[in-house]
Symmetry: C2
Subunit: 327 residues, 2 copies
């Protein structure tokens, strides 16, 4: 800052009123103030370019208007859409959202949780939480944690917004089984993410638990690509692959393309999320559609109200199988 910003005292002085009155003006209590006073405060504030300090206000009110969202990977389009949806809903109730990248890394997540405490964040939204001691401890101390897209660990009580991952896995497993696919492969997400395991377990359940080749992978194209190389070399079988998310599926698809493996003739691919890229760049991908834009209102409802004690129940969003070309 070149000049230091004007304070409430500067405005009070210039308009010849007390800071209390200026404060009332900026806290939406204009109706209590005499019209002439309102006018003079407004003029003074404008002349000084005054914007109330959120810091001062937060300190006084003992709560900030900042909500922090932790995401495992901000470059994932599905994650970005969920974040955009939540941000919009939050703005609608006067809150700001801060986005931070945990990068699928437990230490990084814990560091950011500490930051959120330091900022006295109004709420912490965890997209794809990793179960760590720090997180458990924080859940004990606060009731402002919201889990999105992946459930909290069993013994953490906190609201969850997202689909029923197990049920979705079951639906995919049943579909595979009905279609008569063979040579099942599951490239699931990291085990520390509860959602990864739920999707996998559901899939096994839906299949009726026959043998399934399992690979653990981060939720990235690169990882899906490398995992696919593990089994695609064997050209004698037609594998049918359930991917932990669409990004993994893109990676598998690319590996197939490079090896001249045809989809779906020689390889079946099923994704998860139905991120917006599918419509434009991967219209061939059969996947589970998760309604990214329904997250915002559901999350906002959990924070709503000045007291911050929105209802604490979880919201289970619907999912849908989107059958397209690849399966």
């Amino acid at each position: 800052m070149t000049k230091k910003p004007a304070t409430i005292r500067d405005v009070a002085r210039l308009s010849g009123v007390s800071t209390a009155t200026v404060s009332r003006f900026f806290s939406g209590k204009e109706s209590v103030i005499a019209p002439e006073t309102v006018a003079s405060v407004r003029t003074a504030a404008q002349a000084l370019g005054y914007t109330p300090s959120e810091i001062g206000r937060s300190l006084r009110l003992a709560r900030s208007n900042v909500v922090m969202m932790l995401v495992p990977d901000a470059t994932n389009p599905f994650t970005a859409d969920v974040a955009a949806s939540v941000e919009q809903s939050l703005n609608g109730i006067g809150l700001s959202m801060v986005l931070a990248n945990a990068s699928e890394n437990a230490d990084q997540q814990d560091r950011l949780l500490a930051d959120a405490e330091g900022l006295r964040a109004r709420a912490v939204i965890l997209q794809g939480a990793i179960d760590t001691p720090r997180l458990r401890e924080m859940a004990l101390r606060h009731n402002n944690l919201i889990f999105v897209n992946r459930r909290p660990a069993k013994d953490i009580t906190a609201p969850y917004v997202g689909i029923d991952n197990f049920a979705a896995g079951v639906a995919v497993g049943r579909y595979f089984s009905r279609q008569g696919y063979k040579n099942y492969v599951a490239i699931h997400g990291p085990r520390p993410f509860s959602g990864s395991i739920e999707r996998l377990d559901g899939f096994l359940e839906g299949l009726g638990r026959p043998s399934v080749l399992q690979f653990e992978s981060s939720y990235k194209m690169e990882a899906g690509y490398h995992q696919a190389l593990n089994f695609l070399a064997d050209r004698s079988r037609r594998y049918s692959v359930f991917c932990g998310n669409d990004m993994i599926a893109y990676g598998v698809y690319r590996a197939a393309a490079e090896l001249n493996v045809r989809v779906p003739e020689d390889l079946v691919i099923f994704g998860f999320d139905d991120n917006r890229l599918n419509e434009w760049l991967a219209p061939w991908l059969t996947t589970v559609k998760v309604p990214a834009f329904d997250f915002g209102p559901a999350v906002a409802a959990l924070i709503d109200g000045p007291s911050g004690n929105g209802r604490q129940q979880s919201t289970i969003l619907p999912f849908e199988l989107k059958i397209r070309h690849s399966a």
Copy 2:
């Protein structure tokens, strides 16, 4: 928050020292404190689950550790990569980054600028700034604005980090001209973004200013798709299209696919950014590569130092034509 968080006073009380000493411990002045004192403070803080309030600290120090980045569209993968790069570099020097979506909307941008002032953000990074009165006024009042990827308006003095968009446009124009392309089309980004016009003007310059069909478009797939429909109906010509960014190019490509227009035989497409999706989902796209991951260090260098007065000169990053299949 269930219980209200512990304060520095609680820790002081429990450990039997003054708040000054606790403060010193948490501000990295441990070396000044007697070892036994350190130990007792540490124990007390742990017992109470104490995390220093960033709000109290910010108020006292009259500066926060928060940097706000405004992006035109967080779901654009290029934008997301630049943001990730900047965030990482900022974290490296103890700063937090807040991401907010201006959504290519002047009013929304101005609202967020006000938020940034309220938060007393250490710096405001504008990816794709829109030239508004509010922005000019703010540039006058502060010296903590950093323009990324699109230059500030001519009469705003603030550092810029990004490529030379005009030069990149020239390079593409020359390439079109050398290849003997005809029926030039430019689908450029919104005029309020200086970068859009620089790319377009450069393109015209490189071409030698022959007639060019021009369409203004937001930087989105949807928009590129709809703009392409304007000229793709005319099957008698082989158009050669310079797109304002890769997202627009994806939209054009989809329109072509739907109309059975072959690329590059019947239609030439040139993108801009070379976002990470190209490697995986659009390996056919010829484009201008902008080094997304070089932005972070360059931006951090402008903020560096506790006084916050990093060198104020701009950084011009290199660009590169990536010739692939579509042009």
